[in-house]
């Protein structure tokens, strides 16, 4: 990565929350007993004691949120076509401020009152104060954040050869198929890991919650079958089709005669559709597993579809050539 398009200093208040939490823990550490209350019921009574090392888990969680937020905000900034206010950029400050407030409230309560059997009042005040300050700071930084345009323009491609080939094959009355795939390894890996964890949880909790376990196990299997393995787009002389998953579930199929327009399109997966996969934003149904380019199809019925493609100009040319245009 050459440089950050979403500057790191926009995470200043999140970083301060992490440093503050680390500092509080460091100061309190010599005074903490080996066993401390770790879980409470709604009335504030402790229900589980645990090792003081578990507090480091909160710090680890904060670091995880911070790194995750840096990654997501960077992804957002790289998809911006103009300066926008990124509300997602405030989530880490909200969470990190809240966790720092919780840690501070916990340590303060027990350092002043001792770690015996006592009621723990959830520290709403410190949570609200810390997350509030962090979020207000983050709003200011997000407003003054400069916009660095990411060079995401589509590479132009000479599609005259593929047009000619399709026309020639149509003339010879050949049966043909144009095929392309989007199958990022990281997406299949995440799906498989999540599915394995879900399946293992289902097996472990089967005796306690059989219905929930069955639903979880079924979701895990369906997730792998239908989403791992990416998506494939095929164009034949009759239709355009999109299939997903290991089983090749057909999620989109339109006869060429129903397609009024096809053109290469540049889009923002996060801003326009909120992620990757099979999406709908109220106007367009989209299918894409990576990148920010695709082919926008408009049907004769007025419906709009977006098919992700690594070579959108070529795919659009194939569709229009297949239609004889």
């Amino acid at each position: 990565m050459r440089h950050f398009y979403h500057p790191l200093w926009t995470h200043f208040f999140g970083m301060v929350a992490v440093v503050l939490a680390g500092f509080m823990l460091w100061r309190a550490w010599p005074m903490l007993p080996a066993r401390i209350p770790m879980q409470f019921d709604f009335s504030g009574q402790q229900i589980r004691m645990g090792s003081h090392w578990e507090l480091l888990g909160i710090l680890a969680l904060m670091l995880f949120y911070l790194l995750g937020s840096i990654f997501l905000d960077e992804l957002w900034a790289r998809q911006e076509r103009e300066k926008t206010f990124n509300w997602l950029a405030l989530i880490d400050e909200l969470l990190l401020g809240g966790l720092a407030g919780l840690l501070w409230g916990y340590i303060f309560a027990y350092m002043t009152k001792g770690f015996g059997q006592m009621t723990f009042h959830f520290p709403w005040l410190s949570i609200l104060a810390m997350s509030g300050i962090a979020v207000i700071g983050a709003v200011i930084l997000e407003l003054v954040r400069p916009w660095n345009p990411f060079p995401h323009q589509m590479e132009t491609e000479d599609v005259s050869a593929i047009r000619k080939e399709i026309a020639q094959r149509a003339k010879l009355r050949e049966r043909w198929v144009h095929w392309e795939a989007q199958n990022p390894a990281w997406m299949s890996a995440v799906l498989i890991i999540v599915s394995v964890v879900m399946f293992a949880s289902a097996v472990l909790s089967y005796k306690l919650e059989p219905i929930a376990a069955a639903i979880m196990a079924a979701s895990a299997v369906l997730g792998v079958l239908f989403l791992a393995g990416g998506m494939r787009t095929t164009v034949t002389p009759e239709k355009v089709e999109v299939r997903v998953g290991l089983v090749g579930l057909r999620v989109f199929s339109q006869p060429l005669g129903n397609i009024a327009e096809s053109k290469a399109h540049d889009f923002s997966p996060l801003r326009e559709f909120g992620g990757y996969g099979i999406r709908w934003n109220g106007k367009t149904t989209a299918f894409y597993f990576r990148g920010s380019h695709g082919v926008l199809l408009r049907t004769t019925a007025g419906r709009q579809y977006l098919i992700g493609s690594d070579r959108p100009e070529r795919l659009a040319a194939v569709i229009s050539a297949a239609k004889g245009k």
Partner: protein
């Protein structure tokens, strides 16, 4: 990638499919590591029998052009190191001689044949 089959072509369908894939690897449309359609999806799209596609893929696998592994999609293999010149010449000379004879009887001069080969090697034409 673009694959087509022609019922008027004297070659069997599996050989046409294998030929198309080989050609697209040669012209760079398909790169080592690129995924190929599953046997079922390709057969479905071309409205042909599963076994025809399977036969084409097996032939390509046997020639070391694609990788076929159980439970995984077929992928384009890394290009092999060039075989010994004499071995390659031995394999191709007979087939080329047949084509030269065919070209002669179709009325193509040696110069025309040479130009056609050059054009195809440079990717300007399609057989």
């Amino acid at each position: 990638m673009l694959i087509s089959i022609n019922e008027n072509d004297p070659r069997p369908l599996y050989a046409q499919i294998a030929g198309e894939i080989k050609e697209q690897i040669r012209d760079g449309t398909l790169q080592p590591g690129d995924e190929l359609p599953s046997v079922r999806e390709l057969a479905d799209s071309l409205a042909i029998n599963l076994h025809t596609v399977h036969h084409a893929y097996q032939q390509l696998r046997d020639q070391g052009i694609i990788l076929l592994r159980l439970g995984q999609r077929a992928r384009v293999a890394t290009r092999r190191q060039p075989a010994a010149r004499a071995e390659v010449q031995g394999k191709l000379a007979g087939r080329l001689k047949e084509m030269i004879t065919e070209a002669y009887h179709l009325g193509l001069s040696a110069e025309d044949f040479r130009m056609l080969v050059d054009e195809l090697l440079e990717g300007k034409g399609r057989s």
